[in-house]
Symmetry: C2
Subunit: 388 residues, 2 copies
């Protein structure tokens, strides 16, 4: 077992309490009250405010006679200084429960604020496994993008703005208490964001399914999430059909449950330097890297990739597992093309000169530890070049 | 949605933190300490003490400098007066965390004690859905039988010794905090108990899979638990092979996660009066009732029963779903025969004269609410007679 996170040979499975359904957001005030909240610190971003979800949340808090403070200085790839500013405000206003309404960025910002609220110090001190020693304040998440899984995970990723690198915190202590999954929140999401976060979900599910820490508690969720993405992502993107959005909400939830407990792999390890150096959307860089990494991982988990081919709609009956597994990268590429997403790093403005530096960073990334095989820096650079 | 438990159309999924693996029990002291424990109330039974698991637990508590009190006045179908005696001792000794080491009986006793420790009153006041209003003390379970699922459920069932009926408490508040699944604990379990609790697990999985509250979060666990029972139960019973015991430990866990969130059905509703009036083993009465109830439920969830047939080892390729579904009861009966368990109520000393009374009790049982269809008292009596 390669993870220094694991005490020994034990396997763990931990998720928040999940409340799911259209209109689930209307219970958020009640949830905050039963976690002992009196003054709520509400983390969100300007887009979510414009979409009306913050007003809706505030109405619910007021119904429960809860006081609140809104913090919306959050951008995509959230910055360390935004977390620092948030925690100052949290203490200054005497808040006691944190709510995040938004995509991965507000949720990760909220987690960063939660860590510093009770553990003090600087975010970089908590990078790595289980370095967060004190319980965080009660944390409720209402995700507005079916992608990140941050609402059910023990991960938080924040940008170190000075060093331009991602700080990856992985700690049991940062698991949210309650995740409120209301698929109607996805209706205000732009088409290209549905596509990009959907590919993030697919990457979570694929990496968790073949992770060296996968086990019977994570596998059923990982493979089911892959099936759901295959069934729903294109339609959710093109039509915002309610059933397709619900399918993606469940896919994101199950992928999140799987990867938070089985951890991830090389796609995320290679995506993090791209996000750090170029400030690119996490879902887009995962999507670009996915086929390249999967091609090299295939032979290390043939049976699982063969099962994955079926989940992605390949008729595998009568195929040898090796042959079935080999269909997976092309299926993923076809999906990316259907979604109209880029397939190459050069399309994203990435310079070939940076690939060696990024390869060195990726090799040290915590997500590399659970990839089904290990890669040299040369291998990693080659995976970048394959899709450059 | 028939459950008065549900606020509205929302679906919920809540489970404890799960720690799984051979030797997982050795972390129990650390878990109690991180939940804030200083004086542990340890609920168990004389058989578990004799098997050595309580000594092992105490060594772990001592290593963390934790004080403890052992309460072992627990029998199969645990009694209300045992819960009352336990909570008195809990308060008298000033305990702060509860640990249950044992099968369903010590775990349900511990849950009853936990409810009264912070909610006061009498157990019967908490019968029904979400009547437990105050959080219970931190609760850790280490199950020693792969059957009950009580370690991951929001159910507790205790016998009202005066009225000879089961008190069924179903409350979000009684979900344990941590479940420690150590499959080596199953090694000291007698063969007939492995068989009986294994059939309890199968019943949980089948009822959760077709429950009217089943959803994509519970279905993958329910169907996987059925597959695992099919693969491992006979071998676990006959040989106590380590891999088979691990398979049953995971099956029990997944079935527990499914039924705690999707709830159960008519098999449990019909089994509870049998347990109450005759003090019969819960796994045995579930096993006897299962084929009879499944036969009548079949047509209400044809596709799911067809999928179940495959999980139980039927080659369904080319079969119409109706035909596939119809194979399920006979598969279950064959499994019961292989395990050498009884198939008839008369073999258990049940008098035919009691069937109408039990049918009236079963119709009122909370588990009936999520069965895929409703039954008249006449139907229920007929289901009893089918296997009398």
């Amino acid at each position: 077992m390669p993870m220094q996170c694991m005490d020994d040979d034990l396997l763990k499975f931990d998720i928040p309490e999940i409340i799911y359904g259209p209109e689930a957001l209307s219970g958020i005030g009640h949830c905050a009250a039963r976690l002992g909240g009196e003054k709520i610190f509400l983390v969100t971003d300007p887009g979510i405010i414009a979409a009306g979800w913050v007003d809706r949340t505030i109405r619910n808090l007021k119904r429960e006679q809860l006081d609140y403070v809104v913090y919306d200085n959050v951008v995509s790839n959230p910055r360390d200084f935004q977390v620092n500013q948030g925690v100052q405000l949290y203490h200054q206003k005497g808040c006691d429960v944190i709510i995040a309404v938004g995509g991965g960025s507000p949720i990760d910002t909220a987690k960063g604020i939660a860590v510093l609220a009770t553990n003090y110090g600087k975010l970089e001190e908590f990078v790595g496994c289980n370095r967060v020693m004190h319980p965080i304040p009660p944390l409720i998440c209402a995700p507005t993008t079916a992608g990140t899984g941050a609402d059910v995970s023990q991960f938080a990723v924040v940008l170190d703005s000075r060093r331009k690198m991602k700080l990856c915190i992985l700690s049991r202590a940062i698991m949210p208490d309650i995740s409120i999954i209301d698929p109607t929140l996805l209706e205000t999401k732009p088409e290209e964001l549905i596509a990009a976060t959907g590919m993030d979900t697919l990457t979570h599910a694929i990496e968790a399914y073949v992770s060296s820490l996968s086990w019977p508690m994570t596998d059923p969720h990982a493979i089911h999430a892959i099936e759901l993405v295959h069934q729903h992502l294109v339609r959710a993107t093109k039509t915002k059909d309610a059933a397709a959005l619900e399918g993606m909400a469940v896919a994101c939830l199950e992928a999140g449950m799987a990867f938070s407990n089985a951890i991830l792999g090389a796609v995320h390890a290679l995506a993090h330097p791209l996000g750090g150096l170029y400030d690119l959307h996490h879902g887009i860089v995962n999507s670009v890297m996915l086929p390249s990494v999967v091609r090299r991982n295939l032979s290390h988990e043939t049976d699982k990739f063969a099962r994955m081919a079926r989940a992605l709609g390949v008729e595998t009956r009568g195929m040898h597992p090796t042959e079935a597994a080999q269909q997976v990268p092309a299926q993923i590429e076809a999906l990316i093309d259907q979604l109209g997403l880029p397939r190459h790093l050069s399309q994203l403005g990435v310079s070939a000169d940076d690939l060696p530096t990024m390869a060195a960073m990726a090799q040290e990334d915590i997500c590399m530890l659970t990839n089904p095989c290990t890669y040299s820096i040369g291998d990693i650079e080659a995976m970048y070049r394959d899709v450059w």
